[in-house]
């Protein structure tokens, strides 16, 4: 009995000591919303292990969030004492810009120099890190740092193209000719989720074929009422493509995953969407060779630097947060990102062995180097994502003419521009 009592006492003391030890240990909280199977999810999980090993004296607490969670209640979380020390946050005026302008983030200007991020990232890479006092991107302090990129392109079925004797297009005319050739063979060339992002991304891509620097800067920066000319061209072109059968009118009943399935199952030769599909396509498409071509525009592509690592104002460990950001921006994890099929922002291309990641990183660099990131069409106006989706479907199903479409999206844009 005595022995048992002693053992119990020893165990109890040990447990008490352990819990006291834990209570004294510093806790570093980190959140991100990338799915575990995405390139970012895979690589950041590895980096987190290294980070933990480097700091055995710190309890690193990671929480997997969803994009929707932070999109819907991120502001409230950052405004509370429940915010982590560092988290992934969506970039743009309505998200990172808003919380930065409300004083909920830590100004990272000092860390940019101290950690040497200015030597890794060029000013173009930092455009969506900077927000002014109104929360508009492009100028002001650095409030967050992106460590990856993304862009919208056209995924295409290489086998179907080769069988039809076609090449990936380099001009809009060639693209139309390719679509016509598939149409002649009885195929609907372009799979599209018109009620989802791919609808508005195709629309914006076509608008960018008519957009110059001033238009993009005015549009994204809410600097003037909307000049609807590029959108009118895009809307008319889309209507024309629906009429000619290049896009199915029924796309208005399809979400992105439905349209992606048409492409991955080999039923549609082309699908316009972003680099976030790379990992999934690499793992699911086994029956044919596939590739991407950049939508032929004079300069701008729909895309951006990726989501930002931001440090909440109330973070107790901003130095550790900066160290974490530096780790994910380091050559080792940038290369890992490319090798996982992702789009690193600052990787040495020669060390990336995965052809998908290598190509994506090269294309992103090419777009970024010519300052050709036109960003996403829904960014300038909060809630514009839904407006564009709703009006896209009106356009596709024929309840709106191209002129009415532009008039209606202009009304919402101008209202926000006037009242900002």
């Amino acid at each position: 009995m005595k022995r048992i009592a002693r053992l119990a006492l020893a165990l109890g003391t040990a447990m008490l000591m352990t819990s006291v030890g834990h209570a004294e240990q510093k806790t570093f909280k980190i959140w991100w919303f990338e799915e575990p199977t995405t390139a970012q999810g895979i690589v950041w999980t590895k980096a987190l292990e290294e980070f933990k090993a480097k700091h055995p004296d710190i309890t690193v607490s990671f929480e997997q969030k969803t994009f929707q969670q932070l999109q819907a209640s991120g502001g409230m979380i950052l405004n509370s004492d429940q915010a982590p020390d560092v988290l992934e946050y969506n970039k743009g005026n309505a998200t990172a810009g808003l919380v930065a302008s409300q004083g909920l983030l830590t100004n990272l200007d000092d860390y940019v120099k101290k950690e040497g991020w200015d030597k890794i990232l060029n000013e173009g890479d930092l455009v969506l890190s900077r927000y002014d006092e109104k929360g508009i991107y492009g100028s002001g302090p650095v409030w967050g740092v992106s460590v990856f990129g993304e862009y919208v392109s056209c995924f295409y079925n290489i086998d179907m193209f080769e069988k039809a004797g076609l090449k990936p297009p380099t001009t809009l005319e060639e693209w139309v000719a390719d679509m016509e050739a598939f149409k002649q063979k009885g195929l609907t060339p372009l799979a599209l989720g018109a009620i989802d992002t791919s609808g508005q991304h195709l629309l914006a891509s076509l608008a960018y074929t008519k957009a110059d620097d001033a238009w993009v800067q005015n549009y994204q920066g809410l600097k003037a009422p909307l000049d609807g000319a590029p959108y009118l061209y895009a809307a008319q072109t889309l209507l024309d493509w629906v009429k000619k059968g290049y896009i199915n009118k029924d796309s208005t009943g399809m979400k992105d995953p439905d349209a992606a399935l048409l492409f991955t199952s080999g039923k549609a030769p082309m699908y316009v969407s972003g680099t976030w599909n790379l990992g999934t396509f690499a793992s699911t498409i086994k029956d044919f060779k596939w590739g991407q071509f950049v939508i032929p525009t004079p300069k701008y592509s729909v895309g951006s630097t990726g989501n930002l690592w931001v440090v909440p104002k109330g973070s107790k460990n901003p130095d550790l947060a900066a160290e974490w950001i530096s780790l994910t921006l380091s050559p080792k994890y940038q290369a890992e990102l490319g090798n996982a099929g992702g789009v690193p922002i600052a990787a040495d291309l020669s060390v990336i062995t995965n052809p998908i990641g290598k190509n994506a990183a090269a294309v992103f660099k090419q777009i970024s180097d010519k300052s050709g990131l036109g960003f996403y069409p829904d960014w300038p106006v909060p809630g514009y994502y839904d407006v564009l989706n709703q009006k896209d479907t009106g356009l596709f199903q024929g309840s709106l003419t191209a002129e009415q479409f532009v008039e209606q999206i202009k009304q919402v844009y101008d209202d926000t521009q006037e009242n900002q």
Binding site: G253, Q390, F396
Partner: protein, 302 residues
């Protein structure tokens, strides 16, 4: 007399203790958020920072907002699919299962159908919504089936075409709601004296006559409850719209709850979203009060 009054006062005091948890819950979960929401409806607020008072501006904007009025119109249509149709179908099905199927095929078959009709109520709405999204999309099960049996002309863009979207979502809602109505009505039927039916049958009343003269009048209390609860559900319908159509195509299935969500979380017009919610809540309470008064009047007449 004095003693009885004393007793009754003691009794109500001791009973009132049981009301305390519910009252606290109501104040914390319903009343305070509602008052906060009412307060917010008179402000402009982005969800963070300090709300800016704007008086009645949000309500003024509501009056001229086509999206809002469109969503209110859709609510009227959803009252048909969430209340009128499920109550009618539920009544007929309940009477059939109770009065015919049970007698002809036994209790087990009747229970099997009752459970089957109730199943959509158990399924989370989001799961049901995603499933129906797959079924109704242009390359979904319905169109594939129609094409496979040679009825290509009937295949439609169910949720992507404004002509069909509202009807398609309504179909899903009817499917969800019928089970609830059916189960309540069947429970109500079990308390009706079977001798009434037997007597009517002996008098030569057919099934329809029995249904109209016995079932419906005697089920009035249950019908009132079901109509009231489904009516409230129709006024605040959100989940099926959110999952299946997100209010589209081109706002063809937009409802006030979705509009509130949209402005609250995406346009950052929290004050405006609060104003929509206030109008919606007021309408719901007003309808519920009118309905309950009507019910109590009917009861007092009886």
């Amino acid at each position: 007399m004095a003693i009885s009054s004393q007793r009754s006062s003691d009794g109500s005091r001791s009973y009132s203790l049981y009301l305390i948890p519910g009252t606290i819950g109501f104040i914390l979960i319903v009343l305070i958020p509602q008052l906060a929401n009412l307060g917010l409806s008179f402000t402009a607020w982005k969800g963070v920072g300090t709300p800016r008072p704007v008086g009645l501006q949000n309500y003024h904007r509501l009056l001229t907002d086509d999206q809002f009025w469109g969503s209110m119109y859709h609510t009227l249509l959803f009252i048909v699919s969430m209340t009128v149709i499920p109550v009618c179908i539920g009544l007929v099905l309940a009477a059939l299962l109770f009065d015919y199927v049970r007698d002809q095929f036994g209790e087990w078959v009747s229970s099997f159908f009752r459970a089957g009709f109730y199943l959509p109520q158990i399924l989370p709405v989001t799961v049901a919504g995603v499933l129906w999204g797959w079924i109704l999309n242009p390359v979904g099960v319905i169109n594939i089936t129609l094409k496979a049996i040679g009825l290509d002309n009937l295949a439609q863009n169910w949720i992507g075409d404004a002509t069909f979207a509202l009807a398609a979502v309504s179909l899903v809602i009817v499917w969800i709601q019928v089970g609830y109505c059916l189960v309540v009505f069947m429970a109500g039927l079990s308390r009706i004296d079977p001798s009434l039916y037997e007597a009517a049958e002996l008098d030569g009343a057919n099934w329809w006559s029995r249904f109209v003269t016995i079932t419906i009048p005697l089920l009035a209390p249950e019908i009132f409850v079901v109509v009231l609860t489904t009516l409230i559900a129709a006024l605040k319908v959100f989940a099926p719209i959110f999952v299946i159509t997100a209010g589209g195509p081109d706002n063809a299935t937009l409802v006030p709850s979705y509009l509130t969500y949209y402005h609250f979380f995406t346009t950052q017009r929290v004050g405006y979203a609060a104003a929509i919610a206030v109008v919606q809540t007021t309408l719901t309470i007003a309808l519920a009060v009118i309905f309950l008064r009507f019910q109590s009047q009917q009861e007092s007449k009886e």
